[in-house]
Each structure stands twice: as structure tokens, then as C-alpha cells.
Amino acid sequence: MTMHPLRGALATAALLALLPPAVFAQTPGPVIAIRDATIVPVTAPRIARGTVLIRGSQIAAVGADVAIPAGATVIDGTGLTVYPGMIDSGTQLGLVEIASVPGSTDTEELGTFNPHNDALTAVNPHSELIPVDRVNGITTVITSAGGGLISGTAALIDLAGWTGAEMAVRPRAGMVVTWPRSGGRGGFGGGGGGRGQQGDAAERVSRQVRELHEYFAEARSYARQKESATAQGTTLPRTDLPFEAMIPVLRGELPVIVNADEAGQIRGALALADSFQIQVIIRGGNEAWRLADTLAARRIPVIVGPLTRVPADDDPYDMIYANPGVLAKAGVVIAFQTDDAADARNLPFHAGLATAYGLDPEQALAALTINPARIWGVDQELGSIEAGKVANLIVTTGDPLDVRTALRHLFIRGTPVELTDRHTKLYEQFRARPKINEQ
């Protein structure tokens, strides 16, 4: 079950892997055919034995009877299954290398309101963490910073590219808001203070919520002033860069990603959406099950996870695991996040845990592929195996939610990516150390 490097019939593909890790031209390029594979397009029924044809960065054809053009690199997919690449809807990938080494982290800016900060600016395209996540089939992620109440924009990036700009699928995919929380529930360690501290926390929360509303209101009046100035053919005397960054949010063009776990936080986010007529995406959502019907009726997506959390002591033991299934059954569009960088490789296993507690496996797969593509507005490009979409594909020995499944091939924008990383290199290096009786 080890990750085998490219080999055998793949000699040509291996050569391709030496090319830049992503190809961006939409023009026809190298042609690769994965044939005789099971294909799970996600948006269409499974094809028991078929071919996926890749031309350049795109999927050129999918089906049981696809003619393979002469000169195509052919990959024998017998016994293997092709899935769309998986999308993690919440990471800090590229912004952090070693969590405890301050010099390697750019995850928290100072200040309370930083809507003009763009996560993409600080993404290190050459982070050692990127290949590690990639070889587990994660091809696209949302990466964003935290800190303060408005942390700036999140970027949707493919996990290949020489620069941040090359990686970007959407340089600004959403505006990150961390909803104030009382801090007494969920999370790690318990602890928590006495009554007095809880009272202080409640006061702090209501003050911060008020500040958020005020900030949105000020940004809105700035936007209105700018609009009327523009209409009169003049400009505002002073440009406010943070408020400028809020304009797409207030126009409803850029969704607000609200990090919120508690029901009260989620209700707060819905109230903000009502007040300012903005798009809201809930992220975290541990208690979203309490509002499942409301969220479904209002078509507000929920990015669940990480599932590697413990519920509060007075909550059901399986609450974190069962929440995604409850939401999906109620008709909420869900996706998953790991809220991590080093651990993003475990994304499919978070979804796997949810299937043990009520989430339908097909919906789990959708929540890793087409659902996030829809949530991030890129479902014309990503999230399923359809002709014309970007060829972000994984070829596996089976169900990607199963820990025991191995990846055999990985394509990002049509280019084969080598299944090696810092870990496989160290593994090979030390596995080659002579054994005791060989020394």
C-alpha cells in the first residue's frame, strides 16, 4: 500500500512531470488518456469501465467509449478509479510552515479589521507542506489567515504553480470573519473560568458583535459616498483601503466566510447577512445541526470540520461526527475543512468519520468535490469529471475516504504530478540504511 512513484507504462508521464507543475494555457497541449478505469464523475453516474481524456489543462472527454487519439500518453487504469481532485475549504496552507516557529507563520495580522489583507500575498508556493497534502489527493484548497474580527480575503488555490498568482484559482474567494465567541464550549482542554469570567466574556462578545456591525455600516456608507461621488464625476477626498476591500462584499459579489461553531454565533452571522444583504458561508459549524432547517431554507452553505474535535461535556459524544450528516439530510450544502496546513492531507478521512455517523458516502464525496466548487463559484471549472473542466484528477486503488486506499496518479491542470514529498524522500533515505546485520 505504499505510494509508488510513477513507473512502467508511465515513462512518458514521468517525463511530463519534469515540466512546470502546472500548465495554464487553455490551448491544446499534451494528450493523456486514462483508460479502462472506473470513473466517478460525481455529477453523473459512475462509469464502470471508461476513459478520461486529458488535453492540455482540461478534460477533453469522459465516457465508456472515448476514442484515444494517436500520440496520446496512455495510462492503464485497470483496477483503478478516477475521481475529481479533492478540495479543502479551510486551511492555512502556504501561510505556515512549522506552527511553533514564529518566523515561519503568517497566519495572524495585528489589529481587528484587516479586510484589505489578502492571504494569497503570503502563500509560499514552495512550502514543504504542499506536496505532502497533494499526494493524498488534495488538489485545491482555500487558504486564509485568522486574527481579529475581519482577517482579510481567503484565496482558492490549486496545489501547483511556481508563484502564488499561478496557483490562484480565485485570488479572492471570500472575506474571512471570525465571529466573536464566548469560549466556554467546544475547543480543547475545557478549563473555562467562573461565573464572573463568563459574564465578562458575554460582555466582550456583545461589544465585538456591535463593532462588527458598525464596521460594516461604516463601510457601507463609504461605498455609498463613493458611488455618488462617481455618479457626479468626482472622487472621494481620501481613499480608505480597508473600506475599498469591503465594497465587493457589500455588493454581494464576495461572500463572507464566517468562522462560527456555536448556534449563537451562527445566528449572529445570519443577522449580519440580513442587515447588509451579503452572502454568508458558515465555516466550522459544530452546532449548525441546531439550525439545519433554517440554513437549508436560506441556502446558506456550511463548511464543516475539522471533525477532529471533541464536543463540550454536556453535548452528545458523537455530535461533531454526526453534525455533517444531519445538515446534508436537511438539504444544507456542506463541504469540509481541516482548518490546518500540515494536516490537510487527512481531509478525506474527516469525511470518512462523518459517514460512520450518518452522512451518506456519496454526499461525503460531493462535499469534497462539487459542493465546494459550487460554494466557491468555480463549478464550471472544478469539482467533477466533465468535458471542458480543468483536469484536476486523482487515480486511486479505491474509495478515497478509506485510509487504506492508495493514490496511483495525480493530475493538476492536466499535468501529472509526482507522488513524492518530504516524507517519501526521508522514508526512502532511511529505509536504505543498512540493517543491523548488514552493517
Binding site: 445541526w289 477532529t308 452528545p316 459517514t355 485510509v403 487504506r404
Partner: protein, 468 residues
């Protein structure tokens, strides 16, 4: 310890003992919460039937029965005769594994995980701070964990005395300790001991040792002292024996609780569990232990163990590691998920631990990662959360596999434990069902409860129903 043993004995027999007095309670309301769980009846005669049995020692029995008598496994196999009167647990379509053993836990140690005020606190005991009502314990049995090695933290080089605990949920905490298990002690090396990963508390001074060199010298100093202390006692005991009538009583050495524990390490009666990351510090402790004539029972975390697998194998030490954690601090930068499989390949007995109340809930999925990375076999992977940690704790003759004579600590999974979509249905300890999903307070129950609250039962004039 003898007293504890007696308590456990009573508990096993199902005799009245604190909360145990209630006996099985079929009217129990799951909405009342885990603390209201009825203490299960003693597993005097239980048969788990029609199960796929993953023994951890002899492969998988596709359709078999496990017979439990007085809390121990009395028979396992495809053709087991079930005596009359046995309580039957039908595991049709389900998988049964040995109870999961977590060799690195801090559960139930509320406010007591680190003494840490000096570099050796070998005298302090985890058993003094355990809290039986810690909900983390309940969530762990709901994840199939039955035995924990509860350790101190890693704030200092010698953290204190650990406790081997069986999660007999609902019984008094003293009854959770695994009677007869060898005592253990936590050592720690590297960054945490240096305290370089967190801001110092106001007024906090740096504490020796501050480097890995200092850590070696500190340990050598304590063991040198312990050896001398041992010699003082040996001399005293010899003098007591040799004393003739009329001669004055020899004066005993001054009792030192810290050195008492280290003396047990030197004598091999107390097992060392050593928090470690980098290969250099692992090699250092392997050598130091050899110098003082003891064996480190388990290196904990041991994320670079794969680099010194030869040395670990030669020392006969176990390795208890994470499945795939990495990059959370400098000394975890070279951690690889192939570590467990690679060390196992070199002959080391490897376990996969949690070090977290959260991870402990899904160790059965963590173990599968040893198959994914490095190609461990299914049974090897299963042993990494059962028999191997039991061996590291010195209790593999009693738990860790489904074999006749062992404690009936079992997990019944809805499907293959390594498959996604499988969950724990029942967890048995000593043949008693301490977790049963059918009776557990689940999210589904909670939602039903809240629906009922929102829609109160309409009042009617029909009083024919005798409901209350």
C-alpha cells in the same frame, strides 16, 4: 495496591460497590447523559456470536464466537459451544477486535498533568489526580479504547509516576486502575523540557537543563545518585541481616521518595516511558539506559525513531508514536507517517498512541495509516493499538489480543475497523458492556429531545393512557 485489587475483585463479581450497586437498568434514559449510565452487570457468562473476529495474534476468524467467563475469554473460534444461561451478544455482520490500548494518554488528570516545578518530580503520582467523571473517558470507550497509560506531561525531564487504567466507566476511580500492572514513570527530552515553545510566565526563570546536553547530564546525575541510594539500602539491608543479638540496630538510609522511584527503574520494576522526538536524544537515552543497566520500556512520540531503528531494536525498547502528526514544532519537522511501519519492519514493537482525548476516539482509523504509509499488514496495524501497547505497558499476558485466558476487553465495530463508515457499537471491559451505542446519548437523541421541547404534547381530555 492490594486494597485496589480487592475492590476490582468485588466489581468483577458484580457485588455492590458504590455506583455498581445499581446493576443493569433497562429503563435508563439516554438523555440523562453519560454520567447517569448504569454500571453494567458483571460479565460472568457472555457469548459474542456470529462475529468477524480480528484476534491480533492469529489472524481473523470470519464467523466465530467468543465465550466470556468471569470477565475472561474462555473460548474463541468458529465452533464454540455456548453454555446454557449465557448472555448472548449477537454480532452478526460486525467486527470484533481486542480493546484498544492507548500507551500515551493524559485523560482524567484535570489540573495535574505537569508538576514541572523542578527537573525531576519522580515522586509525584498520576493516580492521585485522576477524576473518574471526566467525560473524556466516556468518549474514549465510545471510540473502543479500554486501557490507558496515563502519563504526566513533558514539562520536565522526569515527570512522575504513570498509571495504567482500564476505563471502567461509572466505577470509582480506584477501581479503574489495572491491578497488578507494572508501575511506570514518564521521562521527557527535547524542546518541551527546554520550554522554548511558549512564552515564559511572568517571573519564571529558566530551569536547568536548558539544552539536550544538559538533559543527558541531569539524568546521569539522578541515576548516579539513585545508584548510591540503592547501595545505601543494600548495605543497610545486609547489616540488618547480619546483626547479632545485642548489637545496635543499623540506621536506615534517609528515605527519599524521588530516589525510591528511580531505584525501581534501576531494578527493572518500574517501566520508563520517555517522551522524545529527535534521533540524537533517542540515541542518548538508549545509551544512558544501557550505562545504568535498565531498558526503556517505550520511547513515546519517537517521531525520528525511524532514523535510529537499529539502535531501538537492539535496545529492545518499544516505540509509541503518532500515526502522522508533523510540523507542529521544530523537532517534529522530520516526522514521517511511515515511521510506525518502518520501525516495525526493523523489529521494533510499535504502538500508535493518541496523546489526546480527541485522537483517542479514533485510534482504529489512525492505526490504518500504518498500512497506507509503509505497508504494514492489517494484523500489524491492529497490533499497534492493541497487543504492542499492552506489551509496552507490561500487561500483554493479560490484554491486547483475543486469546483464551485474557481479559475480555473487546470492541464490537459496525464494520471493518479500518473502513470509513465503521463505528464502535459496544465496548466491553472484563466482559462487561461499558459502552453501548444503542443506549448512548447520541446527537439523534438530543435532537429528538429538542423537537419534543419545541412541540409540547397537546393536552387532551383523553386520560385513558396511563402515561406520566
Amino acid at each position: 495496591m492490594r486494597q485496589v485489587h480487592a475492590l476490582v475483585g468485588l466489581a468483577l463479581l458484580g457485588l455492590p460497590l458504590g455506583a455498581a450497586a445499581q446493576g443493569p437498568d433497562t429503563s435508563w434514559d439516554p438523555q440523562a447523559g453519560p454520567l447517569a449510565t448504569a454500571t453494567p452487570a458483571a460479565g460472568t457468562l457472555v457469548a459474542v456470536t456470529n462475529a468477524t473476529i480480528m484476534t491480533a495474534t492469529r489472524g481473523t476468524i470470519p464467523r466465530g464466537t467468543i465465550l466470556i467467563r468471569n470477565g475472561r475469554i474462555a473460548a474463541v473460534g468458529a465452533d464454540v459451544t455456548i453454555p446454557a444461561g449465557a448472555r448472548i451478544i449477537d454480532a452478526e455482520g460486525k467486527y470484533v477486535t481486542p480493546g484498544i490500548v492507548d500507551a500515551h494518554s493524559h485523560s482524567a488528570t484535570e489540573g495535574g498533568v505537569n508538576e514541572g516545578s523542578q527537573s525531576s518530580t519522580a515522586m509525584v503520582r498520576i493516580e492521585d489526580v485522576l477524576r473518574q467523571e471526566t467525560m473524556g473517558l466516556y468518549r474514549e470507550i465510545a471510540g473502543g479504547v479500554t486501557t490507558l497509560n496515563i502519563l504526566h506531561g513533558s514539562a520536565n525531564a522526569i515527570g512522575g509516576q504513570s498509571a495504567t487504567v482500564k476505563i471502567r466507566w461509572g466505577l470509582p476511580v480506584d477501581s479503574m486502575q489495572m491491578a497488578g500492572a507494572p508501575p511506570g514513570i514518564k521521562f521527557a527530552l527535547g524542546e518541551n523540557v527546554r520550554r522554548t515553545n511558549r512564552a515564559p510566565q511572568p517571573g519564571q526563570e529558566r530551569r536547568y537543563p536548558f539544552t539536550r546536553m544538559g538533559q543527558e547530564e541531569f539524568l546521569r546525575e539522578r541515576f548516579t545518585r539513585a545508584r548510591e541510594y540503592e547501595a545505601e539500602w543494600t548495605a543497610y539491608e545486609a547489616a540488618v541481616k547480619a546483626r547479632k543479638r545485642g548489637e545496635p540496630e543499623p540506621i536506615p538510609p534517609r528515605r527519599d521518595l524521588e530516589l525510591d522511584a528511580l531505584r525501581e527503574v534501576l531494578n527493572g520494576t518500574r517501566l520508563v516511558h520517555a517522551h522524545s522526538y529527535r534521533s540524537d536524544e533517542i540515541a542518548m537515552l538508549v545509551d544512558l539506559a544501557r550505562e545504568f543497566g535498565f531498558r526503556v520500556a517505550s520511547f513515546q512520540h519517537v517521531l525520528e525513531g525511524y532514523k535510529v531503528a537499529n539502535e531501538l531494536a537492539a535496545a529492545g525498547s518499544g516505540a509509541s508514536t503518532f500515526a502522522d502528526n508533523w510540523a507542529y514544532k521544530m523537532e517534529a519537522w522530520d516526522a514521517i507517517p511511515h515511521n510506525a511501519a518502518l520501525m516495525a519492519e526493523r523489529g521494533i514493537r510499535v504502538s500508535i498512541n493518541s496523546d489526546s482525548d480527541e485522537r483517542a476516539r479514533r485510534l482504529y482509523q489512525e492505526a490504518a495509516k500504518a498500512m497506507r504509509y509503509g505497508g504494514a499488514t492489517e494484523e500489524e496495524a491492529l497490533r499497534m493499538i492493541t497487543l504492542n501497547p499492552a506489551w509496552q505497558l507490561g500487561v500483554d499476558d493479560r490484554i491486547g489480543s483475543i486469546d483464551v485466558g485474557k481479559d475480555a476487553d473487546l470492541v464490537i465495530f459496525s464494520g471493518h475497523p479500518f473502513a470509513p463508515g465503521s463505528r464502535v457499537e459496544k465496548t466491553l471491559i472484563d466482559g462487561r458492556v461499558f459502552f453501548d451505542r444503542d443506549q448512548a446519548p447520541t446527537l439523534e437523541h438530543r435532537m429528538q429531545q429538542e423537537r419534543n421541547r419545541r412541540r409540547p404534547v397537546p393536552t387532551t381530555s383523553d386520560d385513558s393512557g396511563a402515561q406520566s
